[in-house]
């Protein structure tokens, strides 16, 4: 449930004539649930990268609840992201040698932060996503099940911001629906600010608002509030 105020942001890459992303002004209120849509190459992942501090904007400020992450050092952005952002990616990025629960706990472990309370929450979250007590190798899970593990991992520490980049793009329709459902209910429960990049109407239609990107810019006609 963090609010965002983004102003005068542009992201340029060498070799590209136009900036990959150009946003003069964008606000998201705390707990708002936003869909980001747009054709391939329109800058959706670029937006996710700068909103989560994975990448630095060429210009502009990205203020989350008073913290301009554009001004943070790389290490400080990593820490800020760990504390505030849960990220779900199209390719799940689970680690094959680890069990489901070890995958859920991995980010906390890498920060030496996994206490018993967190371990208990990890187990209950796996229950919640329908994978409780499953101790099979991660590689033998179905793709839908993998993405559910990734959702549990993202919400483990009750982040203020949940960001998903095309979470159902590599899933079949039924699995995509389950993941959409989970994102919806889990963020609603905790009042988490939710940003989902997706083409999937089943997700987009559930959310409060839609931002449509075309060639790195917000397209006003197709952006809507409800």
């Amino acid at each position: 449930m963090l609010s965002l105020a983004l102003s005068d942001v542009s992201v340029s890459y060498p070799g590209l004539a136009e900036p990959a992303l150009f946003l003069s002004d964008l606000s998201i209120t705390a707990g708002e649930r936003v869909a980001v849509t747009g054709p391939s190459g329109s800058g959706k992942s670029t937006l996710v990268n700068i909103l989560t501090g994975l990448d630095r904007a060429t210009r502009g400020s990205i203020v989350w609840q008073g913290t301009d992450i554009a001004r943070l050092s790389e290490g400080a952005r990593d820490r800020w992201r760990y504390q505030n952002v849960g990220l779900i990616m199209q390719d799940f990025h689970l680690f094959a040698g680890l069990s489901a629960i070890d995958n859920v706990l991995l980010p906390a472990r890498l920060r030496l932060d996994a206490d018993n309370a967190l371990k208990a929450r990890a187990a209950s979250l796996l229950d919640r996503v329908g994978l409780g007590g499953r101790d099979q190798p991660i590689a033998t899970l179905s793709r839908g099940e993998m993405q559910r593990v990734a959702v549990a991992r993202a919400v483990l520490r009750r982040p203020g911001i949940l960001v998903a980049d095309e979470p159902s793009a590599s899933l079949d329709a039924a699995s995509g629906a389950v993941v959409a459902d989970l994102l919806d209910t889990l963020s609603r429960e905790d009042g988490t600010t939710l940003i989902v990049v997706s083409h999937d109407d089943r997700i987009v239609n559930r959310l409060d608002r839609r931002i449509h990107l075309i060639r790195g810019r917000i397209h006003p006609d197709e952006s809507s509030s409800s």
Partner: protein
């Protein structure tokens, strides 16, 4: 983090095993050379230990030591017969024992000498039986398969060439020596008078035995009493070597000086061996360079593999960052994974080197009786530490690459 490293190594076990084996072999190569070289040095020094001073005819010091200490078959020039008598009478000498080679039984060298050398003047008891007391009696070394009571026929010449058997001559084994862990364990000791008799030489005797002129030119004569400790006649046949036990260390140096003349060459075997190793020093340096080069190549290969591995996993590393992992954790994972693998390889290599050196030493012992003691030394620790440090630095290269890698890779397709 440990879990992630272990899981990763388990998953990539084949590549990990290859790296481990490479490192183990490179480590073992270097360590085995060191261990073996040291074993050779210690073993030969120990073999030379019981020979304080060796006197021979002028010629090669090295050959004199190799023939006397290691019983290496090769013809030595002979000294005049009176040297032994002079040495035996020298007040600085505890004992002077003749040494005569040339005959074999199978592959066992038959060494003609006196009771002094066989028992270190009474300090070293036999393991079994008694000492030779007659010309046709023999004492077998601990490493031979001869038993008391066996009869042996000496053969003249080197065992690998077809020598002539002295058919008529025979020695009866009357005792067995205690093991000395030197090539002498494979020797058969007989009285020098026996060797002379077999070769039909004028077996000179001390005055107390005069009148017993040898009458034949073959080994057919009856066994006779032999000379016990004490004086030797001056008109003995020529000898290839005399082992001298000086009374004191100072005497040893004086004797060596006194017997480096036109007719005699006195050497300290330890010193000759040290010089020999000095000569071999260059070869050792070259070998060490080759080994270091091989290790550096393996190191470079592993660094390349690791760098390739890291760049193949850009997205995975990006994902870890996206999930909030600090860069230092990324560094730690990559570094830890490579370092654990290389450290395990080094450990395995040390074991492998030890085993290899033991095997080689055992093989050498079987051949010539020298026991080569294989052991790690304090100085090895610094070599191992240097290897471990090199591994740590090596692992830091791909780890640093992973550390510097941008965090955005996870969302790119």
């Amino acid at each position: 983090m440990m879990r992630l490293i272990l899981a990763d190594l388990r998953r990539l076990w084949l590549g990990a095993a290859v790296v481990l084996v490479l490192v183990a072999l490179a480590t073992a190569l270097g360590m085995a050379v060191t261990l073996q070289e040291r074993a050779l040095r210690l073993g030969s020094a120990r073999a030379a230990d019981s020979f304080d001073l060796i006197v021979g005819a002028p010629g090669s010091e090295t050959q004199l030591v190799l023939s006397t200490v290691f019983l290496q078959p090769s013809p030595l020039p002979l000294m005049k017969g009176d040297v032994l008598a002079r040495l035996a009478a020298d007040p600085r000498v505890a004992f002077a024992a003749p040494v005569g080679f040339g005959d074999f039984f199978g592959t066992y060298p038959i060494v003609g000498t006196s009771s002094d050398l066989a028992t270190d003047a009474g300090h070293r008891p036999l393991a079994e039986g008694r000492l030779f007391a007659q010309t046709h009696e023999a004492v077998a070394g601990a490493g031979t398969d001869l038993r008391v009571g066996d009869i042996i026929h000496p053969m003249h010449g080197r065992p690998d060439q077809s020598g002539s058997v002295h058919k008529e001559a025979a020695y009866r084994v009357v005792g067995r020596m205690a093991p000395s862990n030197t090539p002498w364990d494979r020797a058969i000791l007989v009285p020098i008078e026996g060797v002379w008799a077999v070769h039909g030489l004028h077996a000179g005797r001390h005055q107390e035995h005069e009148g017993e002129e040898p009458d034949s030119h073959d080994g057919d004569e009856p066994s006779r009493q032999i000379h016990q400790s004490g004086g030797w006649a001056a008109d003995l046949p020529g000898l290839p070597a005399i082992v001298v036990k000086p009374k004191t260390i100072a005497d040893a140096y004086r004797l060596r000086a006194a017997y480096r003349t036109d007719s005699a060459l006195a050497v300290f075997p330890g010193e000759v061996l040290t010089n020999l190793y000095g000569t071999l020093g260059d070869a050792r340096t070259v070998l060490a360079l080759v080994v270091t080069g091989a290790q550096a190549l393996v190191g470079a290969a592993i660094a390349l593999i690791a760098i390739g591995h890291v760049s193949q996993r850009r997205r995975q590393i990006g994902a870890l960052r996206a999930l909030g992992a600090p860069r230092i954790a990324i560094f730690g994972i990559v570094w830890g994974e490579i370092f654990a693998l290389v450290a395990a390889g080094i450990t395995a290599g040390l074991g492998l080197a030890y085993l290899a050196a033991r095997l080689i030493s055992a093989e050498i012992s079987k051949g010539n009786g020298v026991t080569l003691p294989v052991a790690f030394e304090g100085s090895d620790a610094s070599r191992v530490l240097a290897l471990v440090a090199a591994a740590g630095l090596l692992a830091a290269i791909p780890a640093a690459l992973a550390y510097r890698q941008p965090a955005t890779a996870a969302l790119r397709h």
